[in-house]
């Protein structure tokens, strides 16, 4: 089994607040790992550290055996780690096709030609179900469509690891089910995935393994069916964890 991602001794401190304490876990190639936890547990911070947007106070992030901790986000993308954002970050004035094309054109090493990027973009849009929105400006799309657009764009960078940040947040049950199918298909194509989810409706059906976070620590890890019955996880979601979930 190849080790895609390793996180060792990760700690994060903001001012006098300890956000993450001693996070250790690893992700195998082809696995789907879901990170769950109530608001304020530190999921977003952990996610942003892995994606390169925050430099950890202590600890390392290892990607395919390389220590990538000092790497900025754009470098990580070119080396095969793509991500999506909870609030979709699209290029508003560009068409859906152009959005995805840029992912292909800039996100790979070595970079393809413009025409190849365009073709790839068209294919990916079809894959996520946005083929009929090719020429529409991204700011005209609905939330779900923008999430799918971001997903297509992330895929266009030909990633080895895909990070999905709360991709199901605010979506209808039907949309979440659509997403689940899409993610499982991506997994079957050989992609490794890391998802965060605040509610559990997405991670449970798609993940091989879950990691439960509370107050910056890993409180449990294991397959979804076992984890959601874990009393500690229940307590974190329903007990003091939730009430204190004022701010993350």
């Amino acid at each position: 089994m190849n080790l895609c991602l390793e996180v060792r001794h990760l700690c994060q401190r903001f001012g006098d607040q300890q956000i993450l304490r001693e996070i250790n876990f690893s992700l195998n190639q082809g696995e789907v790992l879901g990170i769950i936890g109530p608001n304020g547990a530190g999921k977003t911070t952990l996610f942003n550290i892995i994606a390169g947007w925050i430099t950890p106070t202590r600890g390392v992030v290892v990607f395919w055996g390389q220590n990538i901790t000092p790497w900025p986000p754009d470098h990580r993308c070119r080396k095969g780690m793509a991500r999506t954002f909870q609030i979709p970050q699209v290029f508003p004035e560009m068409s859906a096709l152009e959005n995805v094309m840029l992912g292909a054109w800039f996100g790979q090493e070595p970079p393809p030609r413009e025409s190849q990027s365009r073709e790839r973009a068209a294919t990916l849009l079809k894959q996520v179900g946005l083929a009929n929105k090719e020429g529409i400006a991204a700011r005209e799309l609905t939330l779900m469509q923008q999430r799918l657009l971001e997903l297509a764009r992330a895929l266009a960078t030909e990633p080895k690891l895909l990070l999905l940040d709360e991709i199901a947040a605010g979506l209808s049950l039907k949309a979440v089910s659509q997403l689940s199918d899409l993610i499982l298909r991506l997994r079957d194509q050989g992609l490794t995935l890391l998802l965060t989810d605040h509610l559990l409706n997405l991670v449970v059906p798609v993940s091989d393994r879950l990691l439960a976070l509370d107050q910056g620590k890993i409180i449990a890890t294991g397959p979804p069916q076992t984890l959601i019955q874990d009393p500690q996880v229940e307590a974190a979601y329903l007990g003091t964890g939730e009430a204190a979930g004022e701010e993350g």
Binding site: A51, P72, P73, D74, H75, C77, R78, A82, R83, F85, Q89, V90, F91, P92, E93, M94, L102, G103, W105, F106, G107, Q108, E114, R153, A154, A156, T157
Partner: protein, 318 residues
Amino acid sequence: MLGKLHPSSVWALAAALALIIWPLFFPQASLYFQVLGMACLYGTLALAWNLYALSGAISLGHAAFFGLGAYGSALLSHYFHWSPLVTIGLGALASVVFGFLWCLVFRRLRGVYLGLASLAAVEIPKVIIDNWDSLTYGSMGLMGLEGLPSLALGKWEVALGSNLEAQYYLLLALVMAAALATRQIMASKWGWALRALRENETAARAIGIRTHRVQAKALLGSSYVTGICGGLYVHILGLVEPALVFSLHVSALPLIFSLFGGRTIFFGPVLGALILYPLEQLVFQPLFPMGHAGIYGVIIILTILFFPQGISVWKRAK
């Protein structure tokens, strides 16, 4: 190489032709040569400003680059007596050095705070030059600067310094070259990176664009061309002083022309310059001999209020 012809490009081509051949119908129009020539110079300046603006950065302090290029050229010309064509090119390097410092110091600034920093940054070269009397003659400035040289091509001699018509064609050629270069840039891969950076910096970084490098290239290119404009300006005028080249006016004009004409199309800034500058000089100056530059303030306010994308986009949308 020229690519597909967009309807707006056809208009641009037609306008360019008009600008080239009108003197055949109005010879001896020295005032118009002067005004349109300057308008072309400002058009180039606006294009240079806009290059940086394409990356999403609104600079309120481009006068720093203009003034450094102006003084760079003026001082080289004064002390070494090299031809202005040489000193202008070399003098603009001072602007690039400042641009480089700017990249380092303003690395994490965005939006409003970048604008403010750029506004404040003008004071640095301005006050230093103003006070370094021994080198720059301080606030007195330099007078009697050598004008543009005469170019000789075989039998033909063109006195760029004294012949207003020749000067006009030089400046026209410059702005056309700058406009074409801008067009090429915008269609290139780097141009797409600039656009991505402008529309959403986070997304640009997330898909692998080296945003800092992309923006730095834009700033350095912008500062160099702005410096060239500064150098040309003072050699045409024949004098340089801090209040002239480091003024708020110089910082404001390229911004106004670009916003008015349209930032996202290659000829937008030039359109703005060619419409507004002659308007201000030929219509407003006679009406208000003292405060005519105030019209620019009105224009910028109206532009942001009613057509924030610039008139070229506004026209196309109709």
